[in-house]
Every structure is written in structure tokens, then in C-alpha cells.
Symmetry: D2
């Protein structure tokens, strides 16, 4: 299970006093970027050297408890599914007292940079994501 | 049908060259704020004078086509459902050539500012949202 | 004098209840993008078809009065100076009651996309910016 | 010298491929929040329990080199000056190869939450900021 530590900064909140809902998506994407970098596909590398993009075609979040400025959180990231041209990441956000404060999912597809068409997930990347998927599933089966 | 005109600014995009996915949520929330203001519940008023909040407990977006800096869009907002303590708004985003580029939904609940507990949607607000819902449904029945 | 109308949305504010200071820079950049588009250099065009970038090398803002969610503002944009390889835009932000709530300046340089080196401002763009500068100065001389 | 480690995430960049200029202000504010928390004035505490705000009345940034997604940075924060009702923080941003990529300054004033008027910096906070100032100056005198 990949985890990512961060905290709620002032610019993440709004005048209602809490995390602004769209910023939960920013935070989980930061966690996703960190995981991609760990498996060799950091965004710097992806944007400069890879012939494909991984745009998000669906994203959703649930909000279970408020988050305030200064709150420290841990985001758990796992591969929920991996297909031929797409994969899905799932996220759980915990406060340090163990409260689950939010969940999210992002569905990504592989797009060829030149043709802007959907293509099969390149082998090396598919292999790394499948490894994550297997590891996550083995973990949850324990 | 309430519509909201806006455009993609540079800060809405990211280094992949397109709208960053979480910013679609910011844009649809701008459209939601404009609609609430039109029915007498602008956020200035809500935050200062009303005893309740309307936090989002679920949000989701689909992304159907890329949006680039400078693209002008129209967001159609409608009430998808209204219940005792919650309501759902639905959004469709169109480019000026008529392409549907994205959709979204946000589910809101009513929270008492003092107790932080869920409460029934206050009557005046429920009435205005029910009116929108009726108008939207009548429109789509035509 | 170029003016740009916008308003403070919820995501522009923070838990202190006001506009988060860095978002004043986003708002004035929106006004700058609108002005560039008006003179034929919209960012869509710039990024796709022009051989140069216009990165900001200096930015500053003053904050004279608080801005709250729902506040409508008008941003006045003018060319403060134009040189061989750089130009400066100046901004004044007014509320609808005429209060000056903030000012800002951005200094831009011309960078060749290929060499990443500073280059003289291309002639066509320099001419358009010089026109704006002349118009702004004539206006203030009246 | 207080230092803050962070990195450029995708949402910090724009379609020109680099850090969007206003996000440099977000990053230095994150560093400022971390420092305030270290001296006992985290924003959670400030917003809930202190009778004053510390709004920014002036902010400026210089940009000396581009920052790309994935770049790791260290922000050095120091107190540049402290007066009766205001203080100034100065920031330097370094990449891991030692390059200075940007600098910034923020000027803060103390505002009474009830009256919205400027007040002298409360004693306990003034003392902690003066300590930082002394430590920073001693360090640079070495």
C-alpha cells in the first residue's frame, strides 16, 4: 500500500472554514504523482520523454468529515483495476487520529500524444501498474 | 435551465497542456454559486447570515474532450434531485461549437453551523430549489 | 484603458474569510490574458503558434481592503512600460462602490521557445503593446 | 534559518510547461505556515483562538529560473524586519542542485478580528518573531 503524507494549508480552505471540495482532488493527485514517480513514471519524465498521456476521464470524491487548516493527513493509494487502455486508482484519506475523512477514485486512459487517440497501455507501464495491483490485492487478502 | 459562461484561463491548465481535472470542479462550483445567488442565497449571504452550511458530500466529473487555454465554455446547471436534508446538482459543459466536453454532479447536505449536525433543508431554501427542480423537469418534459 | 470584470468565488477565499493573497495574482493574470487576446495574442495562439514565451520575472501586489466571496470587481489594466526585451503591466482593482482594493504589477520578458534565451520582443507584438502604452498615456495626460 | 521542503506538482504548472507564477506565492506561504506553526502560531490555532489576523498587505516575487513538474525545492524563510504593527518575511527558493530559482517577500500587519483595525503585534507573537529575527541576523553575521 502506497501512502502519502501531507497537510491542509490555508490555500486549500475556503471562507466556510474547511477544505474546499475540489482541493481534495488536488491532494489525491499529488499522492498519485508520488506513486507514479516511485514506479519510474514521474510526471517530469512522462511529459518530456513518453509518447503518451494519461488523462483522467472520470473522478469522484466522497467527503465524510471536515478538514481544517493545519490538519495532517495520510492518503492511501491503491490500484483498483487495470485494463487494456485504462486503469483506476482508489484513495482513502485519514487524519492522524485514524478517522477516514474522504475517499476518491480516478479513472485514467492512455492517449497517444501525436494522434490524440486512445491506445493500449504501454507494456512497461502496464507491468508496473499490474504489480501494484497484485501487491495491493495480496495485501488485502491477508 | 441556468447557464453560466466562462473560459479556460492559463491557471486552469497544467503542463500536459489541458485543463487540470480538479479545475473542472472549480468551474462548475462557480456556476453553482451564480445560480444560488440568483435564487437569493449567494455565498456572501449564506456565510454571514444563514445558520447553516451546504457542504458537498459527493462530487464526480466525467471528461469527454480536452479543454485548452482560451476555450470558451457554457455550463448548464440543473437540480437533479432534492430531498429532506440533501440535494443534487448536475452540470453539463459545452464548448461554443456545441461539443459536450464534460459533466459533473455535486451532492450537498444541510449542516447546522452551531451543532455541525445534519438538519432538514430550511423551508425558504427548499422551496427555491424545488422550484428550480420543477422548472428543469418541465423543461426537459417538453 | 482596458477593464476586466470578475467576482470573488468561494475557491478564491480561505478560512480567514477573505481572498487568499495569491489569488489576487490569478485574477490580474486573467485580466492580462483578456487584454492579450484583445490585441491578437491570446494564450491559445501564443502557446501553439508563436516561437516565444512571455514569462513573468517579477510580480507584486498591494492589498488595501479585504475582498469577500461574492464581491464584484473591475480590474483596470495598463502598460506601465515597454522596453526591448521586457514590458510591465500595472493593475488596479476596484469594488463596485469605487473603493480601490488592490494594485499589482507584472514584469514580463520575451524568451525564445527553442533556445530558452531572452530575445527582443517580436515586432508585431511590440507594436501592439506600444500602442496600448501610448493610448494609456494619452488618456492619463487628459 | 527555517527551511521547508516541497516539490512542484502538476497542478502548480500551466500549459506553458512551468510553474504558474502565482503558485510561487502559494508555496512560500506554505513555508510561512510551517514556520508559524513551529513557533506556536499554526493557522488552526490563529483562526480559532487568537483575537487577531495577520493579513498580507504587500507581496512580491522574483523568478530567476524555470521550475518544472517533479522539481524538488527548498524554501529558506527568514524574518526581514519586525515593527510595531507589521513584519516582513523573506524567502529564497533553491533547487536541489543549489540554483536559486526565486525569491519573495510578504509584509503582514496585525488586525483586530472584532474592530478590523490595525493593532500592535501581540507581545507573545512579537517576542517569537523578534527571536527569529535575532537568530537570522546572528546567523548572517557569522
Amino acid at each position: 500500500m502506497h501512502t502519502y503524507r501531507t497537510q491542509i494549508n490555508l490555500h486549500d480552505t475556503d471562507a466556510a472554514g474547511l477544505l474546499f471540495f475540489s482541493n481534495q482532488f488536488k491532494l489525491i493527485h499529488d499522492a498519485y504523482e508520488a506513486l507514479l514517480e516511485k514506479i519510474g513514471f514521474g510526471f517530469g519524465e512522462l511529459l518530456k520523454h513518453q509518447p503518451f498521456f494519461l488523462p483522467i476521464v472520470h473522478a469522484e470524491s466522497d467527503y465524510k468529515a471536515p478538514l481544517f487548516v493545519g490538519d495532517r493527513i495520510t492518503i492511501h493509494v491503491r490500484v483498483a483495476s487495470v485494463g487494456t487502455t485504462s486503469f483506476t486508482f482508489a484513495y482513502e484519506i485519514f487524519k492522524d487520529d485514524g478517522t477516514l475523512v474522504g475517499t476518491a477514485r480516478t479513472v485514467h486512459v492512455t492517449i497517444d500524444k501525436d494522434t490524440q487517440q486512445k491506445i493500449p497501455l504501454p507494456e512497461r507501464m502496464k507491468a508496473r501498474i499490474a504489480e501494484l495491483y497484485a501487491a495491493d490485492n495480496a495485501a488485502s487478502a491477508d
